[in-house]
């Protein structure tokens, strides 16, 4: 994810487009050489750029799907680690469980950002986004399930009554052996 973002996204600060610039310059200052018809070249150029754009959006869509599927690997790894951590409460299992909870949540918070580079009028991002969200929710569910198996979720009656004060008695009686 990080890598893709770097290459495609805001990582690129400047670019030199030699072909385009030359045409633009030549069209303004220098006359076309003889036998050169600009119209055909222009037309040709536009078809090339359209093709190029199509390729790019295809590539973007593909990348978006890839990014959307990335949490799946994570999920598997998390599952493995949870299995390794066991079902008792100690530092390791608590750490893993909390990271398993935290990762999907932070990922879900940054859904827009993750798919920012692939934003394009033509690219359909809804599918990858939904998949991304679904997978992360899956991760979250796994985390919550782990939390529950550790007994840290108040899903039992015991969690709700453990601090109930004793019921008051209406009657009061005292006495004993005479002094």
């Amino acid at each position: 994810m990080e890598k893709g973002k770097g290459v495609m996204g805001s990582g690129r600060r400047w670019a030199v487009d030699f072909s385009d610039n030359s045409t633009a310059l030549s069209s303004r200052d220098i006359r076309d050489p003889p036998g050169f018809t600009r119209a055909s070249v222009d037309q040709d150029d536009s078809t090339v750029s359209r093709q190029k754009k199509d390729a790019e959006s295809n590539w973007k869509a593909q990348k978006a799907w890839e990014v959307a599927q990335a949490p799946f690997k994570n999920l598997l790894m998390m599952g493995f680690m949870m299995w390794m951590a066991g079902n008792t409460v100690h530092l390791f299992s608590i750490g893993i469980t909390f990271s398993a909870l935290w990762q999907p949540i932070s990922a879900l918070q940054g859904v827009g950002k993750v798919f920012e580079p692939y934003k394009d009028g033509k690219v359909e991002l809804l599918g990858p986004k939904l998949l991304f969200i679904a997978l992360n929710l899956g991760g979250l569910a796994l985390g919550v399930w782990k939390l529950n198996t550790l007994g840290l979720l108040p899903t039992h009656a015991s969690d709700w009554v453990s601090s109930l004060p004793p019921a008051q008695e209406v009657e009061y009686s005292g006495g004993g052996i005479p002094l």
Partner: protein, 988 residues
């Protein structure tokens, strides 16, 4: 709700950490004395004998009413050594034999022991039997010898014994089997080998036996009849003359038996003292030539001159006390006389034959709170100018022991604290300007020095001397003995009522006496002849809206030993010890029931039940009455009649039917009764829960997150009955004819919730009741071992409350008030374990919110207090607990309870004669304050689950400090490095 779910992981965390810790709570050597204190006492002195040996330090040997024999340092009053004989081994007499043995006669004259004077080791012990019960006398004559053996003469159980002083062998004995013979005196005149035994027979006959001290041969037996009989004791006025009173108490009889001839001389007291009226009594003393009688408030000293002639030496209406005579040189005898005069006492030392002259006359200012002088013991010493100096040991009304010498009190011992009847606690004042009483002010230099030392200690740089200094600083910390309330609630006042009727306030920090007060209402007075203090109750505990009031306690006492004697109430301010008021009641006090209601000044309502089963409400204010009337129909009371085996429950009815209209008096009617069959069961123990016990929760979470609901009721009574045959000592019955039945009875409805029979078990039973469980201790005759049993009560009718959603939304009735008339479905779980020790007292720790796990505090036969985790007494223990149960903290079942030496709360100390253990919660939830009392006092703080809410004493502050310093240094260094690097980057 959010808080609760937040709590769950914390609780589980706590549980986990707790289960990973070892349950042993022990103390490091240098922590002894930081939290605990121990005070040693001996009790009210009965008899004192001064060691006459010139070598070694001056000592006095005393025997006390707590059955202690002790050797005290005459310079400071410290105890050299001390032995506590059992409560059934009452000391009858002590003396010193051969200057190096302490001889004691005890158990009604049947046990004679000899102890080594310097170190208190027992030298020998003899059992003396006799044909019948009688008074016992112990004589250690200096000049009687049989074959170079020094002899001790003992009269006990109707037999005269001569016992060797060296090895306790009985040299000869002589029986006095005459049916009605009552021995009054055993006399050994100095300078002869004769022993006289005088006494009364058939109440009107005077008998005299003359016995050869060398072989026990009866030389002469004379008797004379005196028609009008005898009253009380006789007083010895010379080695061959005694004085007695006739049965009307108005005629003095001088009985002389010189040379074996008995001669009487009668002198009506009215001849000596014309205003005489009413019977007189003889004050027992042994001053030659002088005796004292007391009539009404007047004490008359009478001189015997010549042949039975009597003459009044002095009449006084001051309270007086007279010592026994002390032989001085040249055959002179001296005695001490103490008279009260206002706030002073006058001490006079006189020679026996010279009443008018004084060897010594001093007046000493005496604290009024010590009351009257009860006993005087005199001792002399030779001054450097070869004249006689006198020191006097006096025993006061409050049981304290004082040494007077040269007109001052050299030392005093508060031995009244050896016989505590009841204990309660009180908070100290809140710290405000001018309230603090602590006067310990350090100057800056000392303060700095102390902190430097402490720093050195924590950084482990201190030398051994420094360590000792730091330790003494820790022990003497003024912080713990401050007279104000502290944040953790460790500093409190222990209010104790002693048998002498004196109230003491002890500071929990170091055990010093903050104030002491001899109760005026417990003084002898006209309407109240022999008042007895009974109990202490917290009368007013101001908090919240009544902050300005001082807390006060209620002392309930009674005029006389019978249960229908009128009661006396006194109210004592616990900050100052002043008696706020006292009430002489018109009715008796059979029971005191503190009610769970307080009025607007935080005075607790108390219901006093008199012997006619009328209930009286106190305080007698209209406000209290209106509060009481509101709860009227919900108040019940019960009485346990141990002698006929009946427990009765009563309800209240309006208005007394008595003669005087009293709106604070209520009639009662009997509701129910539980009658135990007298031929098979006898009540030996009853226990209830403590009124002020706080329970945190009604649910018990067990393995697999299941819930059990505790049956928590304040109105439960635990009763133990035994077979009437099994009431005696252990081993006096066979297992087949002894059984023990334990009952749990609801005291409102009389319903028996649980009943269990232990066959082949025997008392004595000690029990403790807390939350929903009872633990009791008894003897198993079949296994020949002591057992501890636990019964836990659970409420089955609540067990269905398992729907999480209902609980989340609060749609349950678990916390709504319940009536005991609705039938509870109680199930019990119980288990029994062997226990090594026999037990003197059982208590349980109590904490402020009841969250902390509990420990049982067991007073063992060795006078120590053992802390035993309640987890060991869990009826859910099994031989092979499942994994989940192990996680819950269930210990695998064993047949006996472990005694871990480190879990003795009293560590190396002993609380001699342990009688009671009191636990008081501190404000800090983890901590409970424990006070154990007997002849000694012991106080400590206890954290049953360790101090999870504060740092412990042994927390490694040094490590913390070093870590912080290292971290700060690291931050600085890296910051500088990164700055430099950044600069270099920029220049590149």
């Amino acid at each position: 709700m959010a808080i609760r779910s937040f709590f769950v992981p914390f609780l589980l965390f706590g549980l986990y950490f707790y289960s990973s810790l070892s349950p042993v709570l022990s103390l490091y050597e240098d922590q002894v004395g930081l939290m605990d204190w121990h005070q040693q006492y001996i009790g009210k002195v009965k008899q004192a004998v001064f060691s006459t040996q010139k070598t070694g330090r001056r000592r006095v040997i005393v025997s006390t009413e707590e059955n202690v024999i002790a050797s005290l340092d005459l310079r400071h009053g410290e105890i050299f050594w001390r032995h506590l004989l059992g409560s059934d081994d009452v000391i009858d007499g002590i003396d010193i034999g051969l200057g190096k043995y302490v001889i004691t006669l005890s158990s009604g004259g049947s046990i004679l022991r000899s102890w080594n004077l310097p170190d208190g080791q027992m030298v020998w012990e003899s059992y003396l039997q006799g044909p019948k019960h009688s008074k016992s006398f112990l004589l250690v004559p200096t000049n009687l010898k049989i074959e170079k053996d020094s002899v001790i003469v003992v009269f006990s159980n109707g037999r005269l014994h001569a016992v060797s002083c060296i090895d306790g062998e009985v040299l000869w004995k002589k029986d006095f089997e005459a049916e009605s013979f009552e021995v009054q005196q055993v006399i050994k005149p100095p300078g002869s080998d004769l022993i006289y035994v005088v006494g009364f027979a058939a109440s009107s006959q005077f008998e005299m036996y003359q016995i050869n001290g060398r072989n026990g041969e009866l030389l002469k037996h004379e008797s004379t009849t005196f028609s009008s009989g005898f009253l009380g004791e006789v007083s010895l006025v010379s080695s061959e003359t005694v004085v007695a009173l006739d049965s009307t108490g108005s005629i003095l009889l001088t009985i002389s038996f010189q040379n074996g001839e008995i001669s009487f001389q009668q002198t009506p007291i009215s001849n000596l003292y014309e205003h005489f009226s009413g019977p007189a009594i003889i004050i027992p003393s042994s001053v030659p030539g002088i005796f004292a009688i007391k009539t009404n408030a007047i004490t008359i000293f009478i001189r015997v001159i010549g042949e039975g002639m009597l003459e009044v030496a002095e009449k006084t209406n001051h309270e007086t006390a007279i010592s026994d005579s002390l032989p001085l040189s040249e055959g002179q005898q001296a005695f001490a006389l103490i008279q009260h005069a206002g706030s002073e006492i006058h001490l006079a030392v006189k020679l026996a034959h010279d009443w008018d002259g004084n060897l010594l006359k001093e007046s000493i200012k005496m604290n009024q709170q010590r009351g009257l002088v009860h006993k005087v013991f005199i001792n002399n010493y030779i001054r450097t100018d070869k004249s006689h100096g006198f020191r006097v040991l006096i025993v006061m009304e409050d049981h304290s022991l004082l040494l007077l010498q040269q007109g001052t009190i050299v030392w005093s011992r508060e031995d009244g604290l050896a016989s505590i009847i009841d204990v309660t606690t009180s908070e100290l004042p809140v710290e405000r300007d001018g309230v603090s009483v602590a006067k310990v002010e350090h100057n800056l230099f000392e303060w700095l020095k102390g902190h430097m030392l402490k720093l050195k200690g924590t950084l482990m740089l201190a030398s051994p001397e420094d360590v000792a200094l730091i330790q003494s600083m820790r022990l003497k910390s003024s912080e713990k003995s401050k007279m104000t309330r502290d944040h953790n609630g460790f500093r409190k006042l222990l209010i104790v009522l002693t048998r002498a009727g004196k109230l003491f306030a002890l500071h929990t920090g170091d055990g010093h006496i903050v104030w002491s007060h001899l109760l005026r209402s417990l003084h002898k007075s006209e309407p109240c002849q022999s008042p007895i203090g009974l109990n202490l109750y917290q009368w007013q505990v101001p908090h919240h809206h009544a902050m300005d009031e001082n807390p006060s306690v209620l002392v309930v006492s009674r005029c006389g030993p019978s249960s229908d004697a009128p009661g006396v109430l006194s109210f004592i301010d616990t900050y100052t010890g002043n008696e706020l008021s006292s009430l002489s009641l018109a009715h008796a006090v059979a029971q005191v029931i503190p009610l769970p209601y307080t009025d607007s000044t935080e005075q607790r309502l108390h219901l006093l039940i008199d012997s006619d089963k009328h209930a009286h409400l106190y305080p007698k204010t209209s406000e209290a009455l209106s509060i009481f009337k509101r709860e009227f129909s919900n108040i019940y009371w019960y009485s346990v009649e141990g002698h006929n085996g009946i427990i009765k429950g009563h309800a209240l009815k309006y208005e007394c039917t008595g003669k005087v209209a009293d709106e604070f008096c209520f009639d009662t009617r009997e509701l129910w009764s539980v009658v135990f069959p007298s031929e098979s069961e006898k009540i030996i123990a009853t226990v209830t829960r403590k009124l002020n016990e706080v329970v945190h929760t009604q649910a018990k979470v067990i393995a697999d997150q299941d819930v059990m609901y505790k049956y928590i009721s304040k109105n439960l009574l635990f009763v133990v009955t035994v077979a009437p045959k099994g009431c005696g000592e252990i081993g006096s019955v066979t297992p087949e004819e002894s059984w023990l039945v334990a009952y749990l009875i609801d005291t409102v409805t009389g319903r028996i919730l649980h009943r269990v029979t232990h066959h082949g078990a025997q008392g004595p039973v000690h029990a403790v009741f807390s939350e929903n469980w009872v633990v009791y201790h008894y003897f198993n005759l079949r296994a020949h071992r002591y057992e501890l049993s636990v019964i836990e009560l659970y409420d089955q009718s609540r067990a269905d409350n398992k729907d999480v959603w209902k609980l989340v939304l609060g749609k349950h009735n678990l916390t709504s008030p319940i009536s005991l008339f609705s039938r509870p479905e109680v199930i019990t779980k119980s288990q029994s374990y062997f226990f090594t020790h026999s037990v003197k007292a059982i208590a349980v720790t109590s904490t402020a919110k009841g969250i902390t796990s509990k420990q049982l505090l067991i007073g063992t036969i060795g006078d120590q207090v053992l802390a035993l985790d309640k987890r060991f007494l869990d009826p859910r223990r099994s031989v092979n607990p499942t994994q989940a149960e192990k996680e819950e903290g269930i210990i695998p079942l064993t047949d006996s309870l472990p005694i871990i030496p480190q879990s003795y709360v009293t560590h190396a100390l002993r609380v001699e004669g342990l009688r009671g253990i009191i636990t008081v919660p501190a404000k800090l939830e983890s901590t409970t304050l424990v006070f154990a009392h007997g002849v000694d006092l012991f106080f400590t703080q206890l954290a049953p689950s360790r101090t999870y809410d504060s740092l412990t004493e042994d927390f490694n502050y040094a490590l913390l400090l070093i870590t912080i310093v290292a971290l700060v240094a690291a931050i600085f260094v890296t910051w500088r490095l990164s700055e430099r690097k950044e600069l270099q980057e920029k220049w590149r």
